[in-house]
Amino acid sequence: MACQAHARSSGEVVLSASVSTGSTTIPAPPLAPRGRNYARRYWVFAAPAATVVAAVIVFPWVFTLYMSVQDWQITGGSSFAGLANYRHLFEDDRFLWAVVRTLYFTALSVIAPGILGVFAAVCFATKFVGRGIARTIFILPMMATPVAIALVWTMMFHPQLGVLNYLLTSMGLPPSQWVYSETTVIPTLVMVETWQWTPLVMLIVLGGLASLPVDPYEAARLDGANAWQMFRHITLPLVWPFIVVALVIRLIDALKAFDTIFVITGGGPGTASETINLLLYQTAFAFYNLGYASAMVVVFFVLILLISLLLLNVRQRQAFQ
């Protein structure tokens, strides 16, 4: 279990602990630290991947920056447009509304899976009969093909024939318009997003719960603390870094959400569920306005980058704990 300190999760601990048992029989020879040059030799290993990453990740980025200051014509011509695309972007009501909708969708899609995910992690951290199969069923939604489940949800949302309205009315609740009304469409999509991604929050927090020390709980129990007090004053503070990581990941994924929204509503009704990503798709691949779309990508990315910097920050701080 010596490797536990290095491992980032419970799962890794299990796997790396199982493979490291063989290594204990061979005594490690005393080695002088070889300094930076030694470490640098390992860069060779990363070279092929770095090349591919440069081709499929860095090149598109550089090209997008170039395109965003071009007035690209579908006929093939393109001329320097300066910051016109960006200026246009901040005067474009459709884009600004898309930003507002994205933030609304994202806020709800972080909060709901966040709360449910932590709750689920606490449940699954407790031993009970059938825990393995229950956990597997619980993570199925995040592994299933998003397009496929989006189709099933679409059929379930049908106002007249859908099974959801049947279930609601049979429980004595009023039926909903689900994705067919401008006011309920985003909360409904958040519901799908929550269904799909709560498991990821649960898994990350569960990894944190598994690494908690047992001692504070025994001390608290001797002092007569109840379950809620132990959760509030021991579990929550200790597992907080994991919750933050899970929430930041959720935030990024919610900002990027595309598949389910595209399949279920396509941005509709009207433009009531058109997020930045949906508008980006329309602009680039329906209207072929690639210069404008590139400017949109840059602004979108800056938005997400601010958040990913936060993620890096959290990760680094976590490494010292």
Partner: protein
């Protein structure tokens, strides 16, 4: 693994009966909570199965028919007869296997190199890929592929799927190699092995569980990917998720074939998840890997 913390009511003191009652209530509450948590997943997947096994009359009946009686396989037959689903299945297999294989080939050494050089800064680039929306890679790559005349072949799909698979493999492998003890490789180096030999013959065999995790995850997320296919695939190069989406747009209210198509697409992934859930959980907890 350290013992998971038991958070159910475990308070000492009070009468034996009260304690037993409290314990029993805690258990009941726990089972109820777990049931509530997993029932939405069960509902959706069972409903998908139910729709795919019923005839059209039962599928549009209200109140809904839950149990197919008698169950029919006609929807599945329709899916494969009316659409070229066999081609799309082969396309998806080719794309996700090639993208995963290539990602393993270059990603496993990269993960090793980054972990050994302790170059966590290099992981930032991987993180950028994780953070960037898939669509933003597509605008420039679409133009590039058009210029190269590759639109309508499977090559652009394989290349863009590397955007998903390479970061997953590198990310999982960095975490895995960091967790391995370095003594064995150092011993090999002292005995005169080159760093390549130490990697190939010492570190790689030890890392096999990690490679399995990376392979499963990158395969699943490549299989599931929709956005690259919807932009880059032509009529004959569609992947399954794109093909299923097209079934939706052409057959508005034909729910049976639609559900059958959805099930065909997602069944391999669901079965893989059920079989390899331990590996998948281990991989996913390392940092929220997800493609697209």
């Amino acid at each position: 693994m350290s013992a998971p913390v038991n958070l159910s009511a475990r308070r000492t003191g009070g009468g034996i009966d009260r304690r037993r009652l409290r314990r029993w209530a805690g258990r009941a509450g726990l089972y109820f909570a777990v049931l509530m948590l997993i029932s939405p997943a069960i509902l959706v997947f069972l409903w998908m199965l139910s729709l795919s096994l019923k005839n059209e009359l039962d599928n549009t009946a209200f109140p809904p028919v839950f149990i197919p009686n008698p169950p029919t396989l006609q929807n599945f037959i329709d899916v494969f007869q009316k659409n070229d689903f066999l081609t799309y299945t082969i396309n998806t297999v080719i794309v996700s296997f090639t993208a995963t294989g290539f990602a393993l080939l270059i990603g496993v050494p990269a993960g090793y190199g980054i972990a050994k050089a302790k170059a966590t800064k290099a992981a930032v680039l991987i993180l950028i890929a994780r953070v960037t929306p898939g669509l933003s890679f597509l605008v420039p790559l679409f133009l590039l592929f058009q210029w190269l005349g590759l639109i309508g072949t499977l090559t652009p799909l394989v290349i863009t799927h590397l955007v998903i698979t390479v970061p997953i493999v590198v990310w999982v492998m960095i975490g895995f190699f960091e967790g391995l003890p370095g003594e064995l490789e150092e011993a090999a180096l002292v005995d005169g092995a080159t760093i390549w030999q130490a990697f190939l013959h010492v570190a790689m065999p030890l890392a096999r569980p990690g490679i399995t995790v990376a392979m499963i995850l990158s395969f699943i997320f490549s299989w599931n990917n929709f956005i690259f296919g919807v932009v880059l695939a032509g009529r004959t190069t569609r992947t399954l998720p794109v093909a299923v989406y097209n079934v939706l747009t052409f057959e508005q209210i034909s729910w049976g074939p639609l559900a059958a198509a959805a099930l065909v697409v997602t069944a391999p992934v669901l079965i893989l998840t059920l079989l390899m859930q331990k590996e998948i959980v281990a991989g996913l907890t390392t940092g929220g890997v997800k493609g697209g």
